[in-house]
Symmetry: C2
Subunit: 86 residues, 2 copies
């Protein structure tokens, strides 16, 4: 079953407290190689059947309205993947 | 600045109430082409400098301990991306 992946990340200029908390926790685990962390969301929309251009347009519409808040977040990817790909 | 992307998704057999809520909301927006939705997390670990094999190993360690709960989540990707790629 093909899926459409939507990635949503906080805009670069927006404070990301979850990412900051993770960045603060990493050195306590001995993981000291990272300069910063941003946390976003990943959605997988399952498609029953063929991925048509209309369906991809629906996914883009969902990404920009339901799945992200355009004031604070960017949709960084809307892409079709096949089962077990990636 | 290179980044290491970590994708974390709920295991297929685990109920995903956020995904279910989104799947229920889509038809109310007129978006009827989807069979289901799963919501996961996406992390971007910023690397100051070169991505070494040790650093990638650190990222894998962070992914499986701090960034995901192995009981209910799978780490589906740990991958280096270059700035402005993807």
């Amino acid at each position: 079953m093909p899926r459409i992946v939507v990635d949503v990340m906080p805009k670069p200029e927006i404070l990301d407290p979850q990412g900051k908390a993770i960045a603060g926790a990493l050195p306590r685990l001995g993981l000291t190689g990272f300069a910063g962390v941003r946390q976003g969301k990943r959605f997988e929309l399952e498609v029953a059947g063929e991925v048509t251009p209309e369906l991809l347009e629906q996914a883009r519409s969902a990404a920009s309205t339901l799945l992200s808040n355009p004031v604070i977040e960017d949709v960084t990817r809307v892409e079709v993947i096949q089962e077990d790909a990636e």
